[in-house]
């Protein structure tokens, strides 16, 4: 099934192929939930908290309920549903207490959006403001207020997570490998540093939006801009105690997700309003401000790393403590903590490791999955740390990386042995370095320095990630043959821009041996019609669904051959096929067309053979296991995708301004099924990573109010932020259990971009930046060893950047 085929034997896999969704998207005909409306549909507006933490003493909706056009008003008090993916800790609307700025307290559904807005204005909420706990490090103090005093009563997935009732710790992941104390004792150098990054927003161009109709007999229809139809349905049914058969989730085209739409979002809110309005369909679309403050963001992180190194530069021991800021609810953040915990060292072998990773509740908008699932944040720390440790012990950072990189025979933090076909991080690092001319400046670069007065620096950073998913994650693909012999592909893995459907289409065409024009992947997803898929997350889609697609194609052919054998009076073993017919190998003129068999073959006398041709492929992750909760031992990784970036930057030391001259990104993708799509993922993720590296981040005032919930104050990169030169290349060490050797790469492009930039800036200027983003003023300050600017949470700085003289080598 996953044979290592040479590119010459392949017709579509690895070759250029278009995307099946282009026409609809380029003409404006693709329908997003934003574009949908249903007869009698109501529109929603929300009353939101101006406080980060407050007791709700009363909500008066009497005036609002009596206003023109208003069909339903709901408050948290009347809703007793808890929602949660891993820890069930969130109400649909705040109840008793608000836990973050911008949290919804009451909702109105009215005939027009203006009427809903006017009604929301008329809702009066009586708050008793309480002191919020804003910084996650403050939340660990013994006297910190508890964001969830009832944590001990919440249900959660016990095999995987460990909440600490009576504290703000939503999860504690532990990993213990080897003997850390011994490792440190044998070390020549010990270097300890702390790194951090703020919360950031995914910024899908289409904000969260859903339409829900709670029909008679508790039959619920949901149209939503979400990544995972079956997860929306499952969590929805759990929250409301409904049978799964009652709920149908449909997902048309989706305007970006990046993890922010991975789980359940605004669907339950629309549902309770629809139910209260007598079953009218109800639509809620988040405003851009709500996307920042009501909907989830990426968790902030503080990461302390202490590393012991031998005289030869080999890491002997590493002590790692991650403090993840979950915000007000756990959502995906607890699993980010788990996944980051077992991957915490990056692609390096650490013989003796001690890891504690905490998810910490605070009174801020909550954290969720975001492209890279924690790896962007902690690789910022790990790959800056590798640079700083190397600098501190007087070793070249590239040589230090290569000395410690995972190789065949290395053992990961969880005890997994790296083998030849796991992937080749060494090759990725070396290639990234080569492409930026690491270690020296070219004559042209020297001339440029002289001409501009700006300093040029080059940095490298490596990366790794495996899908973070349940050990038994499964999916299915169904192929249905049409009357003309063309094939429809149904799957519930969604394609919200990644291009996975283009690759699935190539795989199906390849395995069937059909012209690709005959293959259609159905874009709108529907839990009533598509086979199950867990979620569209984790860079697992191509591997799992690609394998299921291969199996489905084989099943379809097997079924077609069975009919053909009967029709042709031949043994199925003697049959072969091309793109239009099945024929007898030794008498090729004797054949039967797929079209004639597609919906049942009619013999000359009219009697039927076979039936509609369908192929089913099911695939489940194999050989994975839950991690031991005390030691972290186990096998969590479906596949490891390794990579590295090389970066060239020029910095104006007078002003702190900088410009990225070049980035070269290398990934070991196993096999690039569609090179243009791999490149699109590589550059798109790189720019998203660059955005968080150069400017993005949530800024709060001392009361916990989000100060920059808009594009005016929270910029994302534009075309003018592109590096002058962008190169992408792939290493192809086939994944033995991947479709045609492929492994996922959707998230990886965003990982380590910031660290590569920080490393290049350090090479250019010596500035030891440990907090991202690296705004120009941060670089200016770091160059001068200044104190950080105190403006991420104004009262309790998590700092920007500075040199830490005390973290010098110990001999």
């Amino acid at each position: 099934m996953f044979d290592d085929m040479s590119p010459d034997d392949l017709e579509y896999v690895g070759k250029k192929a278009g995307r099946p969704d282009m026409l609809e998207k380029l003409t404006g005909e693709a329908t997003f939930v934003s574009d949908m409306s249903l007869p009698g549909m109501l529109h929603v507006q929300l009353k939101k908290s101006p406080y980060a933490r407050a007791r709700i003493k009363g909500v008066d909706v009497s005036k609002a309920a009596a206003m023109p056009g208003v069909r339903a008003v709901v408050t948290g008090d009347e809703l007793d549903y808890h929602i949660g993916l891993y820890i069930v800790d969130k109400y649909i609307l705040a109840k008793g207490e608000v836990r973050h700025y911008g949290e919804a307290v009451a909702a109105v559904a009215a005939e027009t959006i203006e009427q809903a807005r006017a009604a929301v204005e008329a809702i009066e909420v009586d708050y008793e403001p309480l002191a919020p706990v804003l910084h996650h490090m403050d939340a660990l103090k013994p006297d910190a207020p508890l964001v969830h005093p009832d944590l001990g009563t919440y249900s959660y997935i016990e095999a995987v997570f460990t909440p600490k009732p009576g504290t703000n710790i939503a999860n504690h992941t532990k990993l213990r490998k080897g003997d850390v104390e011994k490792g440190f004792a044998e070390s020549t150098y010990v270097v300890e540093r702390e790194y951090s990054c703020p919360s950031v927003q995914h910024v899908p161009m289409e904000t969260h939006v859903a339409i829900v109709q709670w029909g008679r007999g508790d039959k619920v229809s949901i149209w939503t801009s979400a990544q995972s139809p079956f997860t929306v349905r499952n969590l929805f049914c759990h929250a409301f105690g409904l049978p799964h058969i009652n709920v149908r989730v449909q997902i048309p085209y989706v305007g970006g997700g990046f993890g922010g739409k991975a789980g359940i979002g605004v669907e339950p809110l629309c549902a309770v309003l629809s139910r209260k309005a007598g079953g009218k369909p109800v639509k809620f679309q988040a405003s851009r401000e709500e996307e920042f403050s009501l909907l989830p963001c990426r968790s902030a992180l503080t990461y302390r790393i202490k590393t012991g190194v031998s005289a030869e530069g080999k890491i002997l021991a590493q002590h790692m403590t991650m403090y993840w800021d979950s915000g007000a609810y756990a959502d995906y953040a607890v699993n980010v903590t788990r996944a980051s915990g077992y991957s915490a060292s990056g692609p390096y072998e650490i013989p003796n490791a001690w890891i504690d990773a905490y998810t910490i509740y605070t009174n801020k908008p909550y954290g969720t999955a975001y492209r890279g699932f924690g790896h962007v944040e902690f690789h910022w720390a790990v790959e800056r740390h590798m640079e700083l440790v190397a600098t501190a012990i007087g070793m070249d950072p590239l040589a230090f990386r290569l000395k410690n990189a995972l190789r065949p025979g290395s053992v990961t933090l969880t005890g997994e042995k790296i083998v030849e076909h796991t992937g080749d991080v060494v090759k990725c690092i070396e290639e990234a370095a080569r492409r930026v001319g690491y270690g020296q400046l070219t004559e042209a670069e020297k001339a440029r320095e002289k001409q501009t007065g700006w300093k040029i620096g080059k940095g490298v950073a490596a990366l790794q990630k495996a899908p973070a998913m349940p050990s038994y994650t499964a999916t299915a693909v169904v192929l249905k043959m049409n009357e003309d012999g063309s094939v429809l592909v149904n799957l519930a893995l969604t394609d919200y821009g990644q291009g996975t459907y283009a690759s699935i289409r190539q795989i199906v065409a390849e395995r069937l041996g059909f012209p690709i024009e005959k293959i259609k992947v159905a874009f709108e997803n529907d839990t009533d019609r598509d086979p199950y898929d867990w979620q569209t997350v984790a860079s697992k889609g191509l591997l799992l669904s690609g394998n299921a697609a291969i199996l489905a194609a084989e099943d379809l052919l097997k079924n077609a051959y069975a009919v053909a054998a009967e029709v042709l009076h031949a043994n199925p073993r003697d049959l072969a096929h091309d793109g239009t017919r099945v024929f007898v190998r030794h008498r090729a003129d004797q054949g039967v067309s797929f079209a004639s068999m597609a919906v049942g073959f009619a013999l000359p006398n009219g009697s039927g053979v076979g039936g509609p041709l369908i192929g089913v492929g099911r695939y489940i992750a194999q050989g994975l296991s839950n991690l031991n909760k005390e030691t972290g031992e186990g096998n969590p990784a479906l596949d490891w995708t390794f990579g590295a970036h090389g970066m060239v930057v020029e910095v104006n030391e007078e002003t702190g301004e900088y410009r990225v001259l070049k980035i070269a990104s290398i990934y070991d993708v196993g096999r690039a099924i569609n090179p243009d799509i791999v490149r699109g993922q590589a550059i798109g993720g790189m720019m998203q990573g660059l955005g968080t590296a150069i400017c993005e981040g949530y800024i709060y005032d001392q009361q916990g109010r989000l100060l920059n919930p808009s594009f005016t104050d929270n910029k994302i990169p534009t075309a003018k932020d592109l590096p002058l030169e962008v190169e992408c290349a792939v290493v192809e060490t086939p994944q033995v259990d991947g479709p045609y050797g492929a492994r996922g790469v959707g998230e990886h492009s965003m990982i380590s971009v910031a660290a590569a930039l920080g490393n290049a800036i350090q090479k250019a200027t010596g500035a030891e930046i440990t907090h991202m983003p690296m705004r120009f003023e941060d670089v200016w300050r770091a160059i001068r060893d200044k104190e950080p600017i105190d403006n991420w949470i104004t009262k309790s700085p998590i700092g920007s950047c500075r040199s830490v003289p005390e973290a010098r080598p110990r001999s």
Partner: protein, 161 residues
């Protein structure tokens, strides 16, 4: 207020409340849903349309201001049943991922090419600077435009090590 305007060559006459934006008018009154709203504040460019030859953020224009104007939207871009040159170049160069910014992006490129039939890469970047795209990282969009105009600037490819 009664307004009359031309959209994609067709004349529309409608009553319109004064505070309705051109974006909402196109979507809600004319059913032209191809133009998207990304922020509603004139920052992201998803709602870009061509108004009297200029690319504008239609969320920042009142429909009544467009009285008498000539508007082009993504729905008028294809030439009959076949895609326009710009659309075909986007298709060829994988310049679309989720597709939500695409309509606005195509409109900004259309304005650029009307003024500069042979733009440089920098001119393309300048022209689409007001159009946010979170998916593509812009490179394949810039390449699509340069491919269309026959620019000698080298197009990137995924390389194999």
């Amino acid at each position: 207020m009664r307004i009359k305007l031309t959209v994609n060559g067709l004349i529309y006459e409608r009553d319109c409340i004064e505070h309705k934006t051109l974006l909402r008018f196109l979507r809600e009154d004319l059913g032209l849903m191809g133009t998207k709203e990304g922020c509603g504040m004139g920052e992201c460019g998803a709602c870009t349309v061509i108004m009297n030859g200029r690319a504008v953020n239609s969320c920042m224009v009142l429909a009544v201001e467009a009285d008498g104007a000539s508007i082009r939207t993504i729905e008028g871009e294809a030439e009959g049943p076949s895609l326009s040159d710009i659309q075909r170049a986007f298709e060829r160069n994988h310049a679309v991922q989720c597709g939500f910014c695409t309509a606005g992006m195509v409109m900004s490129v259309k304005e650029l090419l009307a003024e500069h039939p042979k733009p440089s890469a920098d001119q393309v970047k300048e022209a689409i600077e007001g159009n946010f795209c979170r998916c593509t990282g812009y490179t394949q969009i810039v390449e699509a435009v340069l491919d269309l105009t026959g620019s000698p600037e080298k197009k990137g490819e995924l390389e194999h090590v």
